[in-house]
């Protein structure tokens, strides 16, 4: 993150921590102003959408470390999201005494253990081969979620999952859950910033650029790849566990290929190798379906089929991926930065021009 070497500062902090503080402050205020307005086109329940986005954010921030920084692709992260979700869902519904927070923890641990078991052999592969192996992994997980009926409830899934509660305090409303999940996301952001600025972060970026040179400089590249993969699966498991306690029911249809693709699209659209980018991508894509569903109210005459997002979401993600790879390969976050710099420069030029005219 400290790309320039010169320390830029914001709010008296190193730039990254300044940005983090601004983001946390903003997220804290969202529920205060974002009331759904009944009867108007702005009837989206922003807090509800942001709750879902928060569960995705856990997974996407981890995936960004893996894809954006270490340069290793995964098209199977829905599997780990699902493992986290099923673990806590099954534990907390079968064993009624099982504390939900322990369920979430168990989901993270199981996702991490399976991530490690899978990562050790799979991360020997590179590029397309790694993409295909992780793709297969996602499919296997989906089949297991569907077929292990005695455990997962088959296509029906798991119903009546209790809300998350910690020492007697239940996060049983959208608002409570909102603050919980985004506080955790803020912690993950903090962890990511710390990590990327450290020797480990430099090691990851180095192995992304040249594995041979990173090896030669003493970076244990094989170990680093496995560790960052496991870290990303633990975070995906956390996101999935939150998802289960937020939705209160889960079924295999959620944890399919298009969720894995959605995660990767969020990373790419926001900005690979940019911590804030991951966040921007999550929020952008989380609001896309409700905005599309609201379109006919804003623009009369839009065909009904268009609002049925499920029909063409993969096509849309595909188009977004292509467009961003071609025109904004470093994502929205970077594009915004450049746009701001460009406008600034134009503005300054204009000001200089005006000044010059004045003194003519």
């Amino acid at each position: 993150m400290d790309r320039s070497g010169v320390k830029k500062r914001l709010l008296g902090l190193d730039r990254e921590y300044g940005i983090l503080l601004v983001i946390v402050a903003f997220i804290f205020t969202v529920p205060l102003w974002s009331r759904p307005i009944p009867g108007s086109v702005l009837h989206m329940d922003i807090v509800n959408i942001m709750c879902l986005a928060g569960t995705y954010a856990c997974a996407v921030l981890g995936l960004n470390l893996l894809v954006g920084y270490a340069g290793q692709i995964s098209l199977g992260h829905a599997a780990f999201f699902g493992i986290g979700a099923y673990t806590t869902a099954i534990l907390c519904t079968r064993l009624t005494w099982y504390p939900t927070w322990l369920g979430v923890l168990s989901g993270m641990v199981l996702a991490g253990v399976i991530g490690w078991l899978v990562g050790v052999p799979v991360l020997r592969l590179k590029g397309h081969y790694l993409a295909m192996a992780t793709l297969g992994l996602g499919e296997i997980a989906f089949i297991l979620f569907t077929q292990l009926k005695w455990l997962t409830g088959g296509t029906v899934g798991v119903l009546n999952i209790p809300p998350l509660s910690v020492f007697g305090f239940a996060f049983d409303s959208d608002l409570k859950f909102y603050y919980l999940v985004w506080a955790v996301v803020a912690l993950i952001l903090l962890f990511s910033v710390n990590l990327i600025r450290s020797r480990v972060g430099r090691g990851l970026r180095a192995l992304h650029s040249s594995e041979i040179a990173a090896d030669a400089m003493g970076v244990p590249t094989a170990h680093y790849k496995i560790r960052v993969f496991v870290l990303s699966t633990v975070l995906a498991g956390l996101g999935g566990a939150f998802f289960a306690h937020f939705q209160r029911y889960i079924n295999p249809e959620t944890f399919i290929l298009s969720l894995s693709i959605l995660f990767v699209t969020m990373v790419v659209v926001g900005g690979m190798g940019d911590i804030w980018g991951g966040l921007v991508g999550v929020i952008f894509l989380a609001f896309l379906p409700p905005v599309i569903q609201a379109l006919p109210e804003w623009i009369p005459g839009i065909p009904e089929g268009l609002t049925n997002f499920g029909n063409y979401q993969l096509i849309l993600y595909g188009i977004l991926l292509i467009v961003f790879m071609m025109f904004l390969p470093r994502g929205i976050a970077h594009g915004l930065e450049r746009g701001a710099a460009f406008t600034n420069r134009r503005y300054r030029l204009l000001a200089d021009h005006v000044k010059a005219r004045k003194y003519e």
């Binding site: 790309r3 070497g5 450290s198 970026r205 650029s209 090896d215 030669a216 003493g218 970076v219 190798g273």
Partner: protein, 258 residues
Amino acid sequence: MNDDPVLLDIDGVTKRFGGLAALKDVSFTVSRGEIKALIGPNGAGKTTLFDVLTGILRPTTGRVALKGEIVLGLRPDQITDLGMIRTFQTIQLFEGMTVLENAMVGCHSRTSAGFVSCGFLMPWALGEEKLIRREATRTLEEVGLETRASEIGTNLPYGQQRMLELARALASQPDILLLDEPAAGLNQYETGELSGLLTRLRDKGLTILIVEHDMGLVMDISDEVVVLDYGEVIARGTPEVVQNDPRVIEAYLGIEAE
């Protein structure tokens, strides 16, 4: 072990790729504090030998010992940890990273903070970070790049990129530095600077094994020269001796020596 004048002991290293023997029974030693040059025509096996020494390739047979410890079978990063580090024939700087960050990666083998302690900003990780920054800055000063610390490494002019590769390797404070054609593409002035730097480093006690085609540089700085041809050591000795060795002349010029 540390009194042993032999730092690197290469003993009977053979490397076959299918039927082709890239290295045939190569043996020589590098002593502490010397600059040893490894020369030979293109395809003689010099880079292959470097790859074997640094753990990228495994030899078919043979033994390599660093400070009395066998390094064969270790991973490249483990060999770097033991104090042997290399540079590359084609520049391999890390993209998108500043000059300082590139040099900081070089400190990897001397630090140990992991994912958890870095992510949670443990005090020892922060202490290490300070040390890394200081060491990296010091090595940049050594090669004269301190004023460019905040630029992106791959944006530097070619000669300075070579110097940065050298600085990155030096940041690990190695016992022995393996340089793969460090003067390739440098102009005369830059080669002179490099020559001065390498001699200075040697005088400070660093051991250097250098592969180089620039004979002026090789003859200038090396204490001893080993000549490889078709994977075999055909001559060794002081620069003067090697220069006048008929087999060396033949290997380079391809004519029958009289």
